[in-house]
Every structure is written in structure tokens, then in C-alpha cells.
């Protein structure tokens, strides 16, 4: 790299002042709660917090001795891969299509972005209604096709339901970034490829997709974090982790044990585990996946 891109400050204190607001936000909204979670995870408390005792690693030991908890790692992995995979694929497809629309593009784009304004719990309820075994529109249609839909007792159906709801909720966000990414690709590159005789499919794979890779990588990280952390409301509204524990992803149990069962110690220990996983995953993504990204 011959060209020096970095900006140099002459003053020693100005950079600190400039980053201070951001640092304050990170400290208050990330480090402080994370510290609280770490502290709570080694304590055992009654619901109202009137008595609390230090228990060391007991909260963690209990978790890892629980088969149901271990099983929910697998459930979470499956759920996250499905949500991130399907979410990215579908929104990329939609973005490519919307990018080509010549007339009424704004209308399509607005409708595609709309679901982002819906709260996760509402998204869960919405899809729950559509898939309700006896009265839902979708399950009715499926029954007409000879397919017996019952997410109350069939774990695969229940998983499908929460994946669909979670993906639907996230598509708008992915779509926005993909669309912006596509629009920032210089038209001249695509036209040059077209003149060289590349069809739309080839143009996409050899020109657009590689140039989109920073966006795709960013969205991959964001979607994994979304699937891990922000989907508990969907699970709570749609399946409550059932049938059995078939859709009990890790973050749902954090929510349930903390906010419904009022067992803060265990809930905090679980969020510490979750935090470790996501930090680990993000590191892996930055170390290995990022190497394939062209900026």
C-alpha cells in the first residue's frame, strides 16, 4: 500500500474527545450490562433479590449437566444456519430483482422494507395465525393439498414456523443493504461484461457478487447475531419452545428463566455462555471468512 490513507491529528486530545460519545454509549449499553451479567452468573438469588449468595461456578455446572440445555445448542445451530442462510439468499434475490425494476421501483422497495417496522413478537403472532392448525390460512391451504400441518406436536413444523417468521422479519434489513450495495457497483463494469458477451447469470456471479462481498460478510455477521439474540420474542409468541424442547433455542431459555421464572442467576449464566459463543463466532468470521472479502 503506497498511499497513506490514515488521517493524522496534530492534537493529542482531540481524537479522544471525538470518540468519547461513542465510547460512552458502548460502556453504558454494552460493558456495563455485560459486567452485570457476569456478576449475576455467579450468584444465586430469590425472585425479589432480598437474599443473594455467591455460588461460584454452580450456575454453569448445573447448565452443562442438563441434557435439555445441551440439546438446545444443536437446535440453536440449526435455527441460526437456517435463518442466516435463507434470509441472505432470499433478500439477495429480491434485491437483484428490485435493482432491475424500471417502473414503480419505489413501491416494491417500500413494501419489501415494511416488515422491518414490525416488532418480533408481532411477527411471531402474525405467522402463528397464518399457521394455526385449525383456523390458519396457510395450514388450511396445506390441508387442501393433503399435508397435515401441526406445529403443536410436530417439531419440524414448529421449527419451520419460527424460521419463516424470523427470516421474514429480517429480510427487509438485508434487502436494504444488498440493494445499496448493488447500486454502488459502477454500471460501466456490468456494461463492459455485457459487451464481452457475459449473460445476466455470469455477470452476477463474476462481477456483482464478488463486489458485494463486503456487504454479504457484514450481513452474515449481523444475521448470526440476530438469530442468536433477537429472536426470543418470536419463539415466545409462536411456539414457547415446544413441542417438547424442539424450538427452545438458547436465547429463549435465557428469556424464560430470567423474565418468566425469575431465576436471574441461571439466566445470567446462560447469557454469558451465549455471549462467549457469539464472540467466538464473530472472531472466526473475521479471521477466516473475511479473507475472502474484497474491499
Amino acid at each position: 500500500m503506497a498511499v497513506e490513507k490514515r488521517v493524522r491529528f496534530r492534537s493529542w486530545w482531540l481524537p479522544w474527545v471525538l470518540v468519547a460519545p461513542q465510547m460512552a454509549v458502548v460502556l453504558v449499553f454494552f460493558f456495563w450490562p455485560a459486567g452485570q451479567a457476569l456478576y449475576q452468573s455467579v450468584m444465586l438469588e430469590d425472585a425479589f433479590g432480598t437474599s443473594s449468595q455467591f455460588v461460584g461456578a454452580e450456575n454453569f455446572e448445573r447448565l452443562f449437566a442438563d441434557d435439555a440445555y445441551l440439546a438446545s445448542f444443536k437446535t440453536t445451530a440449526l435455527f441460526s444456519v437456517l435463518v442466516a442462510g435463507i434470509g441472505l439468499t432470499v433478500s439477495l434475490l429480491l434485491a437483484v430483482m428490485a435493482d432491475r425494476v424500471i417502473q414503480g421501483g419505489v413501491v416494491y422497495k417500500t413494501f419489501l422494507i415494511l416488515p422491518y417496522a414490525v416488532a418480533p413478537a408481532v411477527a411471531g403472532v402474525l405467522w402463528l395465525f397464518l399457521f394455526a392448525p385449525s383456523v390458519g390460512v396457510v395450514s388450511f391451504a396445506l390441508r387442501k393439498l393433503g399435508f397435515e400441518w401441526n406445529h403443536l406436536l410436530n417439531g419440524n413444523h414448529a421449527m419451520t414456523l419460527i424460521v419463516v417468521a424470523a427470516v421474514w422479519k429480517q429480510i427487509s434489513y438485508n434487502f436494504l443493504f444488498f440493494l445499496a450495495g448493488l447500486q454502488s457497483i459502477p454500471k460501466s463494469l456490468i456494461e463492459a461484461a455485457a459487451i464481452d458477451g457475459a449473460g445476466p447469470w455470469r455477470r452476477f456471479w463474476t462481477v456483482q457478487f464478488p463486489l458485494l462481498s463486503p456487504t454479504t460478510f457484514f450481513l452474515l455477521v449481523i444475521n448470526i447475531i440476530y438469530a442468536f439474540f433477537e429472536t426470543f420474542a418470536i419463539v415466545d409468541a409462536a411456539t414457547q419452545g415446544g413441542p417438547g424442547k424442539d424450538t427452545a433455542i438458547l436465547v429463549y431459555k435465557v428469556y424464560f428463566d430470567g423474565f418468566k421464572a425469575l431465576d436471574l442467576g441461571s439466566s445470567a449464566a446462560q447469557s454469558v455462555v451465549l455471549m462467549a459463543i457469539v464472540i467466538g463466532l464473530t472472531v472466526v468470521q473475521f479471521r477466516y471468512v473475511e479473507k475472502k472479502v474484497n474491499y
Binding site: D46, D66, A68, L153, Q240, P243, A261, L262, D263
Partner: protein, 439 residues
């Protein structure tokens, strides 16, 4: 306007405002509850009536979401010092409330301090016993107590050639009726709401067998689950078989399945007596209430069913003046006329014997056959095995019951495996609760 003319004007205005207020300001009392739909209207009417009956206090009812949501909010509010005066807590949260030292103002004591006569013996024994600490002090005020009952769709019974005046009383009869309903084209002959409460908990007391040791937890926090007895296994096996034959259709957790009865989709359901108000208003068919089915060959069955619903807890650390207001409100709620009216309206239990007798005298039970079912199931003498079920970490135990039973209904586990798992996982939760609340 000059200052000289302005000042007297201001003084007059201030005086006028003062005069508009009552002699001394009203004390406001915050009341958090979880009653929805018809029962929400009921709570609002009760507080309106109380507020109009006197001038010193004003009860402000606030809907705070479902039972578990309002409890979570109360916990957060307590930790930040903004707890309400009165909190409605479901029976599942009773052990948690009792164990939380210094959080609760015992109702018995508060009533005495305020100079009201408060006689726990006036209450239906199964109700009073449930909210009484092992030392004999009544800790919370029974408000909307319910129990598990059995509802049938009379029209569906007629269509299937069954006698709607003779609802099945035993589980073998339920299976037979379900088979006939199915033969007549009914897609959902039987379902159940609150599966853990109706099929395990109330089932246990109804058959006079223990669900947990230590008198089902009433005797102390060291109770452990014993819900894997041969009788429990037999019942879950029976339901699993009904599920296989399409006689029992699983419709979800909590009270979600109730909608399938109101819509007419399911012909029989076991659920809370507090469901009555909803069915009465919304069902477009004839319905009847009956006692919970039982197994006739089990000695001692039927005994009594277990309490559900919620009670009102008074939070500690408020002003004496405010406790007087809470006591006055509870005194108003204890009035037999008020209780009887509430009972008729909602299907919740009358709570005091006087209210039950008053309702009986009014001829309500004769005009509305079956409405005394819940009362009759609860008023019987109770035994040590049937008095009530009060467990720590109960919210999680209920979730465990749901998770394990679902795996029986979808054939992934045998009844024995599921019940053993409930015992194992339940006991871990009980041990943890005991440990957390020891200090």
C-alpha cells in the same frame, strides 16, 4: 394587570381550588392485575363500586399483562422501589411470594392493624389453607380462586346421540363419549387446557394421591416430586391412547385450547372454572359444566380438586395510611353480597362459606345447572394429600410438565419416560429453589 389587583385574584383562585378538593386528599392505591376481557370488566366494576362507596381512598386498577408478566414487572418495580400496593399473583407464584422475606405485608396482620375482623375460618378451607403460611398466618387475600372443571358442548352431545344431561363422570365414560362424538363426525371430541394443572396436579388431589411429598409442598420447601406413580402413568397412558385414536386432540399450552371449545371445534374440555364467563358470553351453543372425570376403581376418588386462579398480595414498605385503604378494600371484597355477585358473574369460587350459602339461597345454582360444580369439588373436606399444591420454581415446573407431556402426545416418549423426566427435572428445580431461599 397590576400586581396589586393580581395577588388577591391569585389567592382567591387558590382558595377555590382548595375548596374543590375534599376535606383531606384521597389516598391512591395502586392495584396491578392480569384480568382480561370479561374478567377485566369485572375488576374495573369492583373498584368503581368501592371508590364510589367511600371518600378516603381510591383504588387504581392497572392491567399489567399476563400473570407471569405482571409478576416480573412487580419484581422489577420492587427492586427499584416503585412496587404497587396490591399485586395479583397466580397460584403458581404463591411459593415464591411466601419465600421472599420482607417483600410481603401479611394480609391477616394488616386487617387486624386496621381494626377489621378477619376470620380465616370464614373462608372455604381449601382456599384459605392454600394461602396460609405453615405458622397459621394468612399471607394473601384470596381473590379469584378457580378450580379445574369439565365443560361439554350439549349440542354436540345431542348430535352424537349422547344424553346432554348426563355428562361423562369417569375417564372410561369420557373415552366412550369421545368415540361416539368422533363417529358422529366430530373432529375434536376432547381436549384439555392447562395440561399440567388439570391432568397431573388436580388429577392427583382428585384421586387423593400425592404429586409431591411434604403434603404437596405445603409442609415445607424440601418437598420432592412423586408424579410417576402407577396411577399417574395409567392416566397419561390412557390419554396417549385417546390421542392416537383421534379422541383427544392436543391444542396447545396454557389456556390456548379454550378457544377451540368456544368455537365449537372441540366438544369436551377440562379447564378452569374461571372460563365460565367467557363461554357464557361467547359460545353459540348449549353447554354444561360437570365435575372432573375420575377413575372409579381408585379408592378415595373423587376427593377434591386443587385450587387455581390468583390471590392479592400486599407489598411491604408502604405508608400506614395506605394500608388502611387496602384493608378497607379487602373488607369490601369480603362482603358476602359482593362475593356472591362476583361468583355468579365469573365462575370463580365464592371463597367464603357465607357467599356460597347466599348464592345457593338466591336460586342461582338451580337456574344455571352445573355452576355449583366448582364449589362442590372444593368444599369437600380435604386430606393431607389433597389440600393444595404449592411448589417453588413452579413456573418452570409447569413448563417442564408441558414439555414432557407434549412428547407423549407426539409419541416421542412413553408415559413412563415422560413422568420420570418430570420428576427428575422437577426435583432439580425444587432443590435450587430451596437453596436460593434458605438464606
Amino acid at each position: 394587570m397590576k400586581l396589586r389587583t393580581f395577588a388577591p385574584a391569585l389567592a382567591t383562585a387558590a382558595l377555590a381550588t382548595l375548596a374543590a378538593l375534599p376535606a383531606h386528599a384521597q389516598t391512591e392505591i395502586q392495584f396491578w392485575h392480569s384480568m382480561t376481557a370479561v374478567n377485566n370488566e369485572w375488576v374495573n366494576d369492583l373498584t368503581k363500586e368501592f371508590n364510589a362507596s367511600q371518600k378516603d381512598f381510591r383504588i387504581v386498577p392497572t392491567f399489567k399483562g399476563s400473570y407471569d408478566e405482571s409478576m416480573t414487572q412487580a419484581v422489577a418495580a420492587f427492586r427499584s422501589g416503585n412496587a404497587p400496593h396490591i399485586l395479583q399473583v397466580f397460584e403458581v407464584g404463591t411459593a415464591t411470594m411466601m419465600a421472599s422475606k420482607g417483600v410481603v405485608m401479611p394480609v391477616g396482620q394488616m386487617m387486624k392493624d386496621a381494626g377489621y375482623k378477619f376470620d380465616p375460618a370464614a373462608y372455604v378451607p381449601a382456599v384459605a389453607g392454600y394461602y396460609t403460611a405453615p405458622n397459621g398466618q394468612m399471607l394473601s387475600f384470596p381473590f379469584n380462586s378457580s378450580t379445574t372443571v369439565f365443560y361439554i358442548n350439549r349440542d354436540a352431545f345431542k348430535a352424537a346421540g349422547l344424553d346432554p344431561d348426563k355428562p361423562p363422570t369417569t375417564w372410561p365414560e369420557v373415552a366412550l363419549a369421545a368415540a361416539k362424538l368422533k363417529a358422529s363426525g366430530h373432529k375434536c371430541p376432547f381436549t384439555t387446557a392447562w395440561q399440567g394443572w388439570t391432568q397431573l396436579e388436580s388429577f392427583s388431589t382428585w384421586h387423593n394421591v400425592e404429586l409431591a411429598t411434604k403434603r404437596n409442598g405445603l409442609g415445607g420447601m424440601d418437598a420432592r416430586m412423586v408424579v410417576n406413580s402407577p396411577l399417574h402413568e395409567r392416566h397419561i397412558e390412557n390419554l396417549a391412547n385417546m390421542a392416537k385414536q383421534g379422541l383427544f386432540i392436543y391444542k396447545g399450552r396454557g389456556n390456548v385450547p379454550e378457544a377451540s371449545f368456544v368455537s365449537g371445534e372441540c366438544a369436551m374440555i377440562t379447564t378452569s372454572s374461571g372460563f365460565y364467563g367467557n363461554v357464557k358470553r361467547n359460545a353459540k351453543f348449549g353447554f354444561a359444566l360437570a365435575t372432573l372425570p375420575y377413575y372409579p376403581d381408585v379408592p378415595g376418588a373423587p376427593q377434591n380438586t386443587v385450587i387455581g386462579g390468583a390471590s392479592l398480595w400486599v407489598i411491604s414498605g408502604k405508608k400506614p395510611e395506605e394500608y388502611k385503604g387496602v384493608a378497607a378494600f379487602f373488607n369490601f371484597l369480603s362482603n358476602p353480597e359482593v362475593q356472591s355477585a362476583s361468583h355468579k358473574r365469573t365462575g370463580y369460587l365464592p371463597i367464603t362459606m357465607a357467599a356460597f350459602q347466599l348464592t345457593e339461597k338466591s336460586g342461582f345454582y338451580k337456574e344455571n345447572p352445573g355452576t355449583d360444580t366448582a364449589v362442590n369439588q372444593m368444599i369437600r373436606k380435604t386430606t393431607d394429600k389433597s389440600r393444595g399444591i404449592r411448589l417453588g420454581n413452579y413456573v418452570q415446573i409447569r413448563a417442564v410438565e408441558d414439555e414432557e407431556l407434549e412428547q407423549v402426545w407426539n409419541g416421542k416418549k412413553t408415559p413412563k419416560e415422560a413422568l420420570d423426566s418430570i420428576v427428575k427435572r422437577g426435583n432439580e428445580l425444587l432443590e435450587r429453589f430451596e437453596k436460593a431461599n434458605k438464606g
